[in-house]
């Protein structure tokens, strides 16, 4: 078989994902709900999104949104501490939660007949969370173990913490969702109650329900169980903006990691900005697959890096495009950093090829199609559109925005955002080989 398939088909022939046939409504207390029937398996997935994440945290209280997420399993008026997960597993279901910079999400996937139970469970903890000081303190130790496990005790575990801390001066994206040990220790049970009153209110919540149900019946059940939860005050959105960066930053630090890492980052825009679509395409061309520029150049051809990866991190507020290379032994970190920077910057001067553009568009189509495999994934797409874009139509509508991106768009956003003023160049050396005086300021 010949391999001259690199001239990919025109974007118009890319297979399209099946559009979502959803129903959306808002309860009197402000709770937004999206329902999508899927009768292929007799299960339902419920996701409750609270529009609060680590970017809502105040200085000195980093990690609080995520710590609070854990406490939502510690009891409410009609549900005992830690009873929620055992009730879910006893019906063969799964439940969990996650917190990121912008949102906190609780979810259950259960056999379809248990829809009333999961709605009731979520309503009970939204309306009447009741955490004892003892449970709070025990759970705080669990979260500290989580920080040790995910960040402190693994090679490169604090990489994103280092990048964000150095790249941001003001915006709370400067700190990690997990928070610091000192801030976790400083949190009190009174703050837990205040946080619940402020953010865990129906007017700050969106639910996405996907699975084997009848929408009219589901709407009745949602209204019955979540309708009586009292509406809260308007939710504060006083998040300090990051001031424009005016000069390139360069820094070298040391960490007890086995191989050096080099980082290039740029400040970019937010998720949903018109430039975000070409930035996503640029991200794919640089980082997705063994034919992507970073892998092909740094890992495969020049063999300077053990791994090279990156991301246009497009979230609710402006964040970063960053690229990382783990340095292959025998190469100098400064050479690898230079190569990484040059590879990224080349888009500004030379643009991208039609083959690269078509490849990225098919990769997007693949992400869309395979990103709708499960009820949980469908709920994620729908709720994200509602909460982050405030426009549910983007769940399907972004497909065409991606397919219509041109090579000129990609080159334009590279020139717009990949500027020297916005750039940070970071070298992280293993402690053993680091120069004695390194780790200094910029």
């Amino acid at each position: 078989m010949a391999v001259c398939v690199s001239v990919a088909a025109a974007p118009t022939s890319v297979p399209r994902p099946t559009p979502f046939d959803y129903t959306m409504f808002t309860l009197d207390n402000g709770l937004r709900a999206v329902c999508l029937e899927d009768h292929s398996t007799p299960i339902v997935h419920l996701a409750v999104w609270y529009h609060v994440g680590s970017k809502d945290e105040k200085p000195g209280r980093t990690g609080f949104a995520h710590l609070f997420e854990h406490l939502m399993f510690k009891g409410s008026k009609n549900v005992g501490p830690d009873q929620h997960p055992s009730l879910i597993t006893s019906i063969g279901g799964q439940s969990n939660a996650f917190t990121d910079e912008d949102t906190t999400v609780f979810w259950e996937t259960v056999p379809a007949q248990y829809l009333p139970e999961v709605l009731w469970l979520e309503a009970d903890r939204m309306a009447s969370l009741d955490v004892s000081d003892e449970k709070f303190k025990t759970e705080r130790e669990v979260v500290k173990e989580e920080r040790r496990m995910r960040f402190e005790n693994v090679p490169y575990g604090t990489l994103s913490e280092i990048i964000d801390d150095k790249a941001f001066s003001t915006h709370p994206y400067k700190h990690q969702t997990i928070g610091t040990m000192a801030d976790l220790d400083a949190a009190t049970i009174d703050e837990v109650r205040a946080f619940h009153d402020t953010y865990y209110v129906p007017n700050d919540a969106t639910i996405a329900l996907v699975g084997d149900f009848d929408t009219a019946q589901a709407r009745d059940l949602i209204t019955r169980y979540l309708g009586p939860v009292p509406k809260g005050k308007p939710v504060p959105r006083d998040i300090p903006a990051e001031p424009p960066h005016t000069a390139e930053e360069r820094d070298t630090v040391t960490e007890p990691w086995p191989l050096p890492a080099v980082v290039v980052s740029y400040h970019i825009t937010y998720d949903g900005h018109p430039d975000s679509y070409p930035l996503h395409v640029l991200d794919k061309i640089l980082t997705d697959g063994d034919s992507s520029r970073l892998y092909r150049d740094l890992v495969y051809e020049k063999q300077m890096a053990v791994a090279a990866f990156g991301e246009a991190k497009l979230i609710e507020n402006p964040n970063l495009f960053y690229a990382v290379a783990i340095v292959q032994p025998g190469h100098k970190p400064e050479d690898v950093l230079q190569e990484l920077e040059t590879t990224i910057d080349r888009v500004k001067t030379d643009g991208v090829t039609p083959d690269e553009l078509n490849r990225a568009k098919r990769q997007f189509a693949r992400d869309y199609v395979f990103g709708r495999d499960t009820d949980q994934e469908k709920a994620l797409q729908l709720a994200h559109a509602v909460v982050i874009h405030n426009d549910i139509k983007t769940a399907d509508g972004e497909f065409d925005l991606f397919q219509n991106v041109t090579a000129a768009d990609v080159q334009r956003v590279a020139r717009t955002y990949f500027t020297p003023e916005s750039r940070m160049l970071l070298t992280i050396l293993p402690r053993a080989v680091a120069p004695a005086r390194s780790g200094g300021g910029k």
């Binding site: 398996t41 299960i43 995520h66 006893s90 379809a112 025990t138 292959q328």
Partner: protein
């Protein structure tokens, strides 16, 4: 929205959270909001029966077994090719050859370069991944429907005709050695690797799948070619195709891609027996660690054992969904860890039971004491019927979730085919789980658990807990400085201590 896995994830969440059986209602505190009413949990709606979904199996004339599961919701096709060519098939002197061969499959064939393969699959909007584990090598793929033939053709080419070109071997060897350099600084990797080595001894299941730096440095092109020639054959493989095709289209596509792969005689793998369980306490000393990675367990039963189902349920009570005593004791009650679980890793000829957790260094002794106590209690005392009910409710109730995606359906069927188990068992699974009794659990727990002959591996800062272990009665530990650790050595130590030199890769001939 677009989200894809990236190496530097920042989203945090709670791991599979399951609590123990002590879920008695908690006394409400006076701070309780008064306006929200007391309520009973609502009753479920009407349930519908959930049969195992349809699938088709045919065997091509060359012996390749092909499984097809249809799914028409999205225009996608995915596939898995499994070849019985894992660590269990490695010659005894060549640890890591299965994994290294699998890594090189998509790095060039006799007619396409590594770059051409990457360009082709990426341009199609597809993905192909190759790898291996204890018992198999795999070529997995996912692609938009209109490029299914292209992706299957690529998969067949890389499975049948890998070039094992000298420059690609060189390149991947360098990658593998550097990746191992990073892995040797990852306490979780080290704890599991050392645990497997002790439990399985020189049996292939005890080898690190990715080899060691020493073994990878020694592998030659001839080793790779010989391994591939011996084991990669259609009559030694299974293929699953899943997605938006008709049954006839799927089987025809399998035949177009794999039909010309010639059948050949495949030997039976031979290996030594794993050692009988014996008490071992090993500390890999990694000064400065924030936590200790803990593994406790022993040699156990094979996947094909008639006791697999009741013993798996017993392990669920110890540390799985629906009951998890370890999670209750270590996390819920004491906040000693983020996650704790026990798993039965059951393979074709043998298996292991492993309890897995991590904790801050000063609590290492206490956590270890609690784990060993729970394993002994599972052997000595019948489980509470409510705990068994909890584990069974979870396993039976979760059946509809396990068949949500066609890929998962295919995995369940592949698993039966791979281990030579009865396909009819898929239909009767919930009933078979339900029949397991407290007495069945007690019998297998008593028969298989050896609390006096546990393998214990701790990776962490020994200065923070080694003395306490003695005080707790764990006796002398075999303490290995990280720099001396050698996963390829029978003693787990390098012959001479001192700084570990990075081995120089040999030039392939």
């Amino acid at each position: 929205m677009i989200r894809r896995a990236v190496a530097v994830g920042v989203s945090v969440g709670i791991a599979a959270m399951v609590v123990g059986t002590s879920v008695a209602m908690h006394a409400q505190s006076p701070a309780q909001p008064q306006s929200w009413p007391r309520m009973e949990m609502p009753a479920p709606l009407t349930a519908h029966p959930v049969p195992f979904p349809p699938y088709q199996i045919r065997t091509l004339p060359n012996g390749l077994q092909v499984l097809v599961v249809l799914h028409h919701e999205e225009p996608s096709v995915s596939f898995r090719l499994l070849v019985r060519a894992g660590a269990a098939q490695e010659p005894s002197g060549k640890p890591g050859v299965a994994s290294f061969a699998a890594t090189l499959l998509d790095q060039g064939t006799t007619t396409k370069s590594a770059e051409q393969i990457a360009d082709a699959i990426d341009a199609a909007g597809g993905e192909i991944a190759t790898g291996s584990d204890n018992e198999l090598a795999y070529v997995n793929g996912a692609v938009l429907k209109d490029r299914a033939d292209l992706a299957l053709g690529l998969a067949a080419d890389i499975a049948e005709h890998p070039a094992f070109a000298a420059e690609e071997i060189d390149r991947q060897r360098k990658q593998a050695l550097s990746s191992l350099e990073v892995s040797y600084d990852d306490p979780s990797y080290l704890a599991s690797a050392v645990f497997d080595r002790i439990v399985f001894g020189l049996h292939p299941y005890g080898r690190p799948n990715e080899g060691t730096q020493e073994s990878i440095a020694k592998l030659t092109r001839d080793d790779l070619v010989a391994f591939h020639r011996t084991w990669f054959a259609p009559n030694n493989a299974l293929l699953a195709i899943v997605g938006d095709l008709t049954t006839d289209e799927a089987f025809a596509a399998a035949d177009r891609a794999f039909g010309s792969w010639p059948r050949k005689d495949v030997p039976s793998p031979t290996s030594v027996e794993p050692p009988a369980p014996a008490r071992r306490l090993v500390i890999v000393d990694r000064p400065g660690s924030a936590q200790t990675e803990i593994r406790v367990g022993q040699l156990s039963i094979a996947r094909t054992s008639p006791d697999y189902l009741p013993f798996d349920l017993a392990v669920h009570v110890l540390g799985g969904e629906g009951a998890n005593r370890l999670f209750g004791v270590l996390r819920t009650d004491r906040g000693l860890t983020y996650g704790a679980e026990a798993e039965l890793h059951a393979y074709r000829t043998s298996g292991e039971l492993v309890a897995d957790t991590n904790t801050r260094s000063p609590q290492t002794g206490e956590v270890l004491r609690l784990i060993v106590e729970e394993i002994a209690r599972l052997k000595d005392e019948p489980v509470d019927p409510r705990e068994l009910r909890g584990a069974k409710d979870y396993i039976e109730g979760s059946f509809p979730i396990t068949i949500e995606t066609p890929s998962n359906i295919a995995l369940l069927v592949l698993n039966q085919l791979f281990y030579g188990l009865d396909l009819k068992d898929l239909q009767t699974f919930p009933q078979r789980v339900d029949r397991v009794s407290v007495a069945d659990l007690q019998r297998v727990a008593n028969l298989y658990l050896k609390p006096d002959a546990l393998t214990i591996v701790l990776v962490g800062d020994a200065s923070a807990f080694a003395d306490e272990l003695k005080a707790l009665g764990f006796g002398e530990a075999d303490r290995i400085p990280l720099a001396d650790l050698d996963l390829g050595s029978p003693t787990l130590r390098r012959p001479t201590s001192g700084p570990r030199p990075l081995p120089q890769p040999l030039r392939p001939r």
